[in-house]
Symmetry: C3
Subunit: 418 residues, 3 copies
Amino acid sequence: MNGAQMHALVERLYPLCRSITGNGVRRTLEIVGEHIPLEIFEVPTGTEVFDWTVPQEWNIRDAYIADASGNRVVDFQQLNLHVVGYSTPVSARMTLEELRPHLHTLPEHPSWVPYRTSYYAPNWGFCLAQDTLDAMPDGEYEVCIDSTVEDGSLTYAEHVVPGQVTDEVIISCHTCHPSLANDNLAGIAVAVALAQSLDNPYYTYRFLFMPGTIGAITWLARNHERIGKVKHGLVLACAGDRGQLTYKKSRRGDADIDRVLRYVLRERQHKVVDFSPYGYDERQFCSPGFNLGVGSLCRTQYAGYPEYHTSADNPDFVSPQAMEDTLAVCREAFSVLDRDRRYVNLSPYGEPQLGKRGLYDSLGGRSDAKETQMAMLWVLNFSDGEHSLLDIAQRSGLPFDSVAAAARALQGASLIKE
Amino acid sequence: MNGAQMHALVERLYPLCRSITGNGVRRTLEIVGEHIPLEIFEVPTGTEVFDWTVPQEWNIRDAYIADASGNRVVDFQQLNLHVVGYSTPVSARMTLEELRPHLHTLPEHPSWVPYRTSYYAPNWGFCLAQDTLDAMPDGEYEVCIDSTVEDGSLTYAEHVVPGQVTDEVIISCHTCHPSLANDNLAGIAVAVALAQSLDNPYYTYRFLFMPGTIGAITWLARNHERIGKVKHGLVLACAGDRGQLTYKKSRRGDADIDRVLRYVLRERQHKVVDFSPYGYDERQFCSPGFNLGVGSLCRTQYAGYPEYHTSADNPDFVSPQAMEDTLAVCREAFSVLDRDRRYVNLSPYGEPQLGKRGLYDSLGGRSDAKETQMAMLWVLNFSDGEHSLLDIAQRSGLPFDSVAAAARALQGASLIKE
Amino acid sequence: MNGAQMHALVERLYPLCRSITGNGVRRTLEIVGEHIPLEIFEVPTGTEVFDWTVPQEWNIRDAYIADASGNRVVDFQQLNLHVVGYSTPVSARMTLEELRPHLHTLPEHPSWVPYRTSYYAPNWGFCLAQDTLDAMPDGEYEVCIDSTVEDGSLTYAEHVVPGQVTDEVIISCHTCHPSLANDNLAGIAVAVALAQSLDNPYYTYRFLFMPGTIGAITWLARNHERIGKVKHGLVLACAGDRGQLTYKKSRRGDADIDRVLRYVLRERQHKVVDFSPYGYDERQFCSPGFNLGVGSLCRTQYAGYPEYHTSADNPDFVSPQAMEDTLAVCREAFSVLDRDRRYVNLSPYGEPQLGKRGLYDSLGGRSDAKETQMAMLWVLNFSDGEHSLLDIAQRSGLPFDSVAAAARALQGASLIKE
């Protein structure tokens, strides 16, 4: 899946009204399922998941504010951000003054519509441009939200790429945001493309498409026994804007995923930030009871761009090139992670004689030792069970690929073992 | 006690002739006792304290060098620095040449009188201005030191502010210097004001007023069984000059007191220096057998100003503002230390649902998360029994007060425990 | 042995045709043995040493390429670098075209002759200046290499300076390079001078003169049981060029030898580099099965100068002053290492009373504490069994000599013990 294809997927998913539950999520997963096979999970309202309870399901068919002439001045059909997520149903006539406490605008960006939700406190409201509000005369309006908040279920999906081992890497992205492109349709698109690109990986890769917070908590609660298998993970969000890449470290700070991402990003313009307990679902994976080696990859970070959580985060805000670049970093990172293992030198007393195995030049005295030979010496010397190939690549300054190739050659010659 | 009151205390204590023993110390402690209740300890001459023995007690009534006309050219009544501390009694007539080996001056500051002692080697001497010496004609002088060095006792005092726990913080200042204002009457004054300001602290605070070296060693020898209770400590000295604050770390270097002081000083002009086995009584508290978490707070450090140990260290050399500033840092430091504890998150699997407990805004989607909410997320995530609230404040960049308030709220909601 | 004498030794050894075996090595050790007594070891061809086997012995009497007129255009008698080390015997006439695959030049330095070997793959060849090759007309040449490759032995030598303890320091230098002055006749000369200079050292010093790689591996294989005694070591190479000193750390990176060398070099222009598994015999001593605290001292490092492994590395390339400087650093380093021990304060509760032992001035109050007294306070405070005297010197900023002298005084007063 190239950048243009990822962008097309973003555009196709954009109009759907997603939330933490409901048919918008189901339809989104159907479309994703056209690209990669998904297993869909429905968790009933009322299910207890750690400290939380799966909420009632929200669905919405229509919503608007109409003026005295019956013109819809605010219309859900035009943009689903216009309704506060999880708004309870309303059908009423009220004056602008009565309506005002239910209206949300962004005065600093008067033409943009903000994104607001009220998942756990029953409420209703509209989000609109400040310009629109300013143009609304006093008087009476017809207010309609044709929604339901009823027992149902929370929907999430998994896509698994089996590996050579059952130890897992989880790739997670949130599916609960309505018409917001960078946050997080771009993350979904990159995850789909990444899943497609994996070819017989070492680790088992589990892709999680689920609503933020409650989805991750639900998944963790239902997969408690699997957590021991999760060795690494990455939360993908805001994967398509034109800013430079940002890697947010896991809570551990020195997990393998942290070291791999820093290594892969080292020659790109990028930013690395420490873990903080805010942002996306790394908050849950890195809660102290789990403390998983899960980092987060974004381009411009959460709340770091004005378009964040507004109608300006539309498909034009994300670019095919940026998504391709995010994908390339992911692919390189997991390629390194998949090969980054610790070996033990089976001939650790002095150097083994590489020459008699055809691994070393017979003509000595030259000052330009070859990278492949140097890589073998590095792997032999540091394969003491403590240093991984990535450690060796970083310490030696040699490319990871050369170090991994040297390890393969040495393993082939029975000079090292895993 | 404000800066003016601390300065008044310095001025009142200044004329007394203190030493490591004697009535000058007793009178000093009487005056301190007018401000805070003291328990006075008298340790008899000859008491063995570790490698040392409590020395004989020194008292002095008068001392002078009079010229041929009977004029006192050097007069203890004018300034007690004129006599070398612990001088043995003398009553003699001698020529200037005979006298000279017993005279101490500061040629580089010819109008200043130095401070000298000879506690453990019986000797006598006078300290005087180089200018005075230069003006003394050859000829005979009457030399008188009306002192006694006799069996008696070493005097020190404690003031205890009981805390919620019996674990202790010790605040120590030396009481053995005669007319020297910054070293250490300012330290005594700040200690008194600090003691008055403590209000139902968490730790038990023990203030120690005792002579340098032999006093600290005596206290340690007599309180060997208490040492296990001493969790933190601070030696106060040179607390009133106009220089910037200097914090000298404990020998451990990363004791709680070290981290707290560095935190509190971070936004002030200040200096932090590593532990060295010279200076004040941190030398004893941080000797390898004890290795206590005791740092030292000064303004300009020991021997770091020319007035150090001279008659120029008089009450004009210390300022009310500087003492108030030192006091403010101490109060803030102990306020942080008293609240800096480690908690354990009782709901560590994912985030607990703060909203249902009224601790989190119900309206989602905003990009300006509130500091109080952020502080709760930080405390929850890092309350794993390993990170203290100060760790969390430093890692999050949030004010310690916000972090401590979040911990209180979370403890109130039974989400964390100590 | 001063710089001039070391240089004379380099000049005397220079013409010999050394290799990893053979009579050139034996003659070299005879000459070294005129300066310091050596024990010579002969290890027969075919001896298995870890992953390697001691090879056949190579000896050479003559070699040349003669033109049609019988003129030797390339002549081993002029420069032994002209023959590829371990060349098998040849006696043939062949055209330049046939000869060319056996000729090695350095096009980037057309007047220099490179140094090449082929120890383990039977082969023959000549090294010559590019200028010489360019001047050789097409046509037939007489090619002669009068060498033997036969069962024999590998020769190495040890010189031991017994110490007060049987724990050992090894000093190693390679003896396998033919007419190359900096690499490594200068290293041999500095090692000889260093051995002569040691006078009743604390450690036992073992000097190893042996061929690179196979020699070190042979020594390690034959001394497996001694390795536990080897506490420190230094590989000497390239010890005489005019560049600044380079210290290459042991694989451990923080071995005592690493800390000592860094300390001794701190006030000189120098470079410290991390361990890498290439270079000289530190490769073997620091292989993961041994991981000894062995560093390497050079001036300009391996392959870091164009003259490396060429005929330009001749006696003019090394200077008496540079060898003296290398020697001075070695002597200072081993002087520190020999005295760098950990002590335990026998009076750790508070400071002991130094005054009553005559170790401290009786007159107090001065601000210019003496270095000797400060050094005693530092040694007392940090002699907790964990800090060595070098740690204390570095932490205090005091000269190591002062700290060591303080330790002697305190040990004499029974205040500390080893």
